[in-house]
Symmetry: D2
Subunit: 255 residues, 4 copies
């Protein structure tokens, strides 16, 4: 069996989905269903936490979906810990996507604050999925601190550039004892497939689905590509070759 | 409807499959079925043309499969035309994958002989699918000569390197009035998805499936990735961005 | 000795320069001198061929510079041959850069017409330097037809994208018995250096120098980078490695 | 003037050189001279610190060369601080390349320990040049902690892969107020040129020079390429274009 277990829960879908940038909640709902995802992240600050009937939440809470609140917008460990506590109370889940990005332009994660917050939140009983640079040493330290997964970025968020950090992701995947979820920058189903072919355990996609003219179809395409990439990884891919090698025998036709 | 029509026949599968390098005919048969392909190419020289019961052919001739004999091994237009005639007689089809490669090491196609042979074979009633460099001007000339498709290579055959010729494929796809089938060098499902996302009409895969430890699973993975890539192309992909853009609003968490 | 001989003449500079797009003849002249080039190409149609004192020509004809008229704008072999004859008469040189591009948008070369024209022009005594796709089979046929060099493109002209065709250029360089001059698409000195490191015999640069805010400085940068790349090729470059390897011994500091 | 000032000293060369892996001290000495470098890093553990006449040091101490001891081999901030103190005493310089890599296989830097050590060492009066991942947030924090430069890696050390982290380096360069020195993974002069074209302030090269069959020539090639890349950056490079654009006017030849 090809199991993915995070926080004691098994996931059969390896495509995690984000909820920003959709033009309507209804389009978002359709994309979530089409994606087959079982893990949906949502920015806490976007939800009215005093209102369990918040329309966005209603659209996210599909069957089998694990809600993954994220701390997008916090700037350091202290803010992250406060946000996590509010989140647990409001959403009734201890799953947490930890995002700490002091810089409002590129939204890149802070390695030091992320490690510090992970250490604290794990002790507080959270299932912590930290968003980080593709930094192999940091990923090992997060694992040692009790992170449930590591979520290294493929490319700066929202750029759609794909596996810019491929050489480092390979090292992270080779070394990790917790699931590796490739996050940020995956702009096309081929990028998701490529991440899975490398051996990633899952991928998280948001922008590429949300801004497509047809988010529902794009979500399905990412689902298919993620499955294809995982299947290829398990079947075994060939190495790249320097030289051509004929698919057919090299005898000439008229021999 | 998203139709692909070649030689008057409609194809619902956009994954074409080659038959070289499989370790057994039975593994090949299973891979063909798993791939969902409707177009299977086979090197004429590998078939005993006096024996319609050749075991390889029996394994290829699955339901809905169009046999696509190829001229692999011929060195010039003259040999290609002779091979094509033998092929039509033996296999009872006028579909022909035209491959002319004088160099036995890299098996790269000859543009001049390929154009010459295409002109002749079209007049002789063949449905010609020429294998060529990703050369936009040559592709236009083949189209003008009556080629049913053009089949530009992604990378040298057997290298598994993926879309090395991407910048030229984009121009070919933009300019072509016949289907563009990306051939050679696609070493992973993500490569097939990427070709389809560019707007290719189909892809041809052989080595990557045949040499996988599990050809049947790999064939299915290519099927899924090809469908995903086509779906994404039709849904509309976002452009790559220079700057990060938050999936979630940029207000800070504690505002 | 590291000789580059074309048409019986030895060149010590391996940077060829084009003359389009400069904002003034004076800036062009300074760039030519700064580049140290000994081979300068000019579009015949831009020169008043009845006037040997054409101001542009005066600025090109620096010491040691071989004028290389090009046929830019011709659409087939017939036009190319006519243009070549006019060129030889007007400029008094049998050096010729053969460019045949029927498509006015991407200006990509026509392989069939280029081979046909090369065969004819070589018989007429021209020193033919044909501009072509990075097509290894075509390059061999041009060599057999008597081309003095082959000039495969790195990327579509004017795109500044660098070595998009790297995988094919490597094959061309490995197989060629005539000098390989990488042409078109080299947008930065690092691209020129990379082409030389692959083993190219020379590079041709135009747009990247001409459109720089400081063409003279950019020409010098290309000169330096071309020399650096050639020097590195001759000294011997290391292969890329999958794994890190310490520059310093792996014993830990406190051992 | 194009000044590079680090630790109050001005450098006219932007190529820093490492001293590992040379097959002899004499070859190293020749390479250092040929490179024109003014900053040479040496692993402290490789030097006999009780012997100022250590043969390796004698070969490094060329005219105008700033010795840059590095802490290669230390595993955390505590070890780094101890090493730094020993270094200052032995070499009589407060320049320090801070390398903290707990993992002996890939030798990748630890972001948390590196920041901690930088904070301490700056207070102790060291001129700290920390080796780090291409992590823009970490680089800003190191700058705020008083680092004299940041030294983000281009690719895992010793891999010769070039600018794998290009997308992140661009952000670091855009945001940094201290010099950015691209370190590790630069395997060819074209890679050094490309880093300088991005706007890096300097590059550090070791393996590619040391393992070349001709280190002296390779050092000179890196010198030339670094100068070329800097010159091109200052002159202004054109952007990459999607479409071809003729170097010569688009009128056809016979108009």
């Amino acid at each position: 069996m090809d199991q993915l277990i995070i926080g004691g829960r098994e996931f059969t879908s390896r495509l995690f989905v984000g909820t920003g940038k959709f033009s309507s909640n209804e389009l978002m709902r359709k994309a979530i269903i089409a994606s087959g995802t079982q893990m949906v992240t949502v920015a806490m600050k976007r939800i009215d936490m005093n209102n369990a009937e918040d329309d966005m939440l209603v659209h996210i809470n599909q069957k089998d979906v694990q809600l993954l609140p994220n701390t997008s917008g916090v700037r350091d460990a202290e803010e992250a810990i406060l946000a996590a506590q509010l989140s647990r109370e409001a959403f009734g889940t201890n799953f947490l996507k930890l995002e700490i990005h002091p810089d409002p332009k590129y939204l890149l994660p802070d390695p030091v604050e992320t490690l510090k917050a992970t250490e604290a939140l794990v002790k507080m009983g959270f299932v912590v999925l930290p968003y980080v640079q593709a930094d192999p040493v940091l990923c090992k330290r997060l694992e040692e601190a009790g992170a449930a997964t590591v979520m290294p970025l493929a490319a700066p968020i929202g750029t759609n550039k794909g596996l810019c950090t491929k050489d480092l992701l390979e090292i992270i995947i080779e070394q990790s004892n917790v699931p590796v979820v490739v996050d940020a920058g995956l702009g096309a189903p081929s990028h998701a497939a490529a991440a899975m072919e490398l051996g990633a355990d899952a991928v998280l996609v948001n922008t590429a689905i949300a801004i497509s003219p047809d988010p529902e179809a794009m979500a399905l395409a990412f689902k298919e590509a993620t499955i294809a990439g995982r299947r290829a990884y398990r079947a075994g891919l060939g190495a790249q070759a320097r030289h051509a090698a004929a698919s057919s025998p090299l005898t000439s036709f008229l021999d």
